[in-house]
Symmetry: C2
Subunit: 218 residues, 2 copies
Amino acid sequence: MRASDKAYAALREDIVEWRLAPGTVLAEVEQSERLGVSRTPLREALGRLTAEGLTTAGGRGVVVTDISLEDIDELFELRETLEGKAAALAARRGDAATFERLQRELLDAPGLIAGGKPALHDYYELVGRLDAAIDAAISNSYLAQAMRSLRVHLVRIRRLAADDACRLTAAAAEHAAIAEAIAAGNPKLAEAATVIHLHRSLSHVKAAHASHPKEHHG
Amino acid sequence: MRASDKAYAALREDIVEWRLAPGTVLAEVEQSERLGVSRTPLREALGRLTAEGLTTAGGRGVVVTDISLEDIDELFELRETLEGKAAALAARRGDAATFERLQRELLDAPGLIAGGKPALHDYYELVGRLDAAIDAAISNSYLAQAMRSLRVHLVRIRRLAADDACRLTAAAAEHAAIAEAIAAGNPKLAEAATVIHLHRSLSHVKAAHASHPKEHHG
DNA sequence: ATGGACAGCTGTGTATACACTGATGCTGTC
DNA sequence: GACAGCATCAGTGTATACACAGCTGTCCAT
């Protein structure tokens, strides 16, 4: 693995996991020493992070981007647009059997969610497979790329909202509805199911954020 | 101006203006000598270009990305999604007076288009102002960022379709319709006007590309 | 004659040294 | 005492040197 990849992965993880708080300045020498790489690959890593929007390169040094409540609204506004369209396209172009299989798995997901932490990982992996299946089905690299760049920020937000079993069970049902609509080849329904899911997710995140607003900033 | 900025601007211009054909490998030493900068800032420039999708960093060296007819369809599929949503949001949140002024200017645009090359530049600048006004009105940095990254590729395509006065006149009317709908605060209408405009643009580009398919590849 | 292995080369990945810029703090003068 | 100017320094921007990997061409062996 290249040193720049290592630095990129480490920094990205640190930011997404909120170990590096928003506003932190990432001085090149300091970070290169901390991560055990030279300044050159570190700069490449910082460039990639900045291109993704996780950091901003304003003025002196790059700083970790802040994510506020307004940002969450904006983020979900774009997400609704992109993922709604993606679901609709997947319903038109996707393979029905693939999504029927995913739907069945998602309907069984509550068992996984109740099963504790190791099984929980299987659930997240299942949702990831649904995302990947949609990505593949839309056969639009530009749209897929736009969604990928969006998901980085979403993961960051997800860490703010401690997903409880109750919300995850509901989310699984919503995901199953999306898969069902895509399998049925119904674009409007798939888009509607996606919009519903995203709105519920947003409400949950905002509620969690409102009840523990400073958890990660102290 | 930093050397990396200079290299980035030069390479980006070369790619967008089709002076660097798709498939061209951008060897670091070769390009750094050609542009008169060192390898370090050149690598940063290449990284930015790759992040934007103008180049790909597969295997050995970075190569200029190809743009095919399928890519154009995919590109406009995403563009319709993003700009349609943007127009709708602008209609909801934008300042009516601003867009009324833009609409009046756009209705006068046929005079500019007929006026030859210097006046033509004014027309392009006017369309750019409409884009900027929409960007500002939506007040969603993530959506704006997604549209910015998309426009890079659109400029590249625009160079393929030699815009004639006839098409530009029609486009001006379509832009005026978009501005009017936004000024009227009608989101559905603004989105519809945008979708119409983009479909006409796409048809024009594809027609031009079909009649001169190899113009830029010889 | 053909296949494999080794050497050389081309080109990227990384490290480090140097230059320049912006800021901050100290000192001198008004 | 306050402000202006200069010096020092921290930190980024750039260049270059070095290491390593992949490919290619040639030579030797079968």
